[in-house]
Symmetry: C3
Subunit: 143 residues, 3 copies
């Protein structure tokens, strides 16, 4: 244990994993907030256009869901990656790019920025995770 805590790689992983998981947790109150706002609008819209609000509440739900689907693989693969002993600078680059891409993703969701921004940040996060998974698989392959 003391051994792990004196390891820079593990400290870096702990910091970034905690930040990104906390960010994910903040999505829950946000989603709840948008859902309540949506419900107030619902009363007015119910006769006019139920399809629009279904899509909108899907969007909010999707943003949190998307976090869950991307951050869980990052945490699992990132932990295994930290154990394969890569260069500290390479690992920091991976962690920083991933955490940055998730923050941009959430901001572009909430502010409804024009499309390329959200898709791009999602793809960057996926590529970072794949790059770490590639290193894990080539280092540890044991089927």
């Amino acid at each position: 244990m003391a051994d792990l805590m004196s390891n820079d790689m593990f400290l870096a992983f702990s910091t970034y994993a905690t930040i990104v998981v906390l960010k994910m947790m903040f999505m829950a109150p946000l989603t709840g907030y948008f859902r309540i706002t949506g419900k107030e609008d619902r009363k007015k819209m119910l006769q006019t256009n139920p399809d629009v609000e279904r899509v909108r509440s899907d969007l909010n739900h999707t943003c949190h869901q998307n976090d869950l689907e991307n951050i869980v693989p990052f945490v699992v693969i990132g932990l295994l990656y930290a154990f394969t002993g890569p260069d500290l600078s390479t690992a920091l680059l991976h962690f920083r790019v991933f955490v940055g891409s998730r923050f941009i993703h959430t901001v572009s969701y909430l502010l409804a920025l024009p499309q390329p921004s959200r898709g791009l940040s999602w793809v960057v996060g996926i590529i970072t995770t794949f790059s770490m998974a590639y290193r894990v698989l080539t280092t540890t392959l044991f089927l």
Copy 2:
């Protein structure tokens, strides 16, 4: 490995993490059960009130989803927390309060207890996770 297994802190984390993850897995059959029950009712209600059943199936889905959104952060942050070497009694307090709050949350969902109980248990779980995240960040900060 043998080192980790002779560590009380890690044993305590393993026990509580396994219990809470098993509890989460039991939500799947429960949700399925309520969904099937809901479908049987659906035939009668389809003409009368499709909005009510959508909200109800949302509730069941939300309960499992809520578990996923709260237990995944607990497991990740709790594991890192166990590695920062806190007092065993403090750590046990965190683990017990969190696991207790999740069980109360699920029971108040399933029995539809009056509102403060569910919201309160959710907030207690969140605060426990934040308290562990605070300790992880102050101990390991390495950006």
Copy 3:
């Protein structure tokens, strides 16, 4: 760290966990693909039968959601299980059966194979996870 990486058990867990998490990540583009396909059909169906397409998009969403609900417990419990020091052959059996059952589950979803195949693969995955959880609890019990 170097200690963990020279341990066959941990190498095996890393490999299987990475494979199954990568599989889960591939569900996101697939779901997106089906959602877009669904939307094109939606224009035709909107007047005729909005209920059918809601159920269908639920199915795709459920497949990814189901992955999240089964693979997250496997990763958490599998990691703790690897630390309890079981026989390498027993652990490999658990990992292989679980990963195999998830692949069969996804294939039977996507190709819409007749029902017993999907339910059976889901049950096999659950039983494997319970078997590992049982070993973790009996080895580490510390309440």
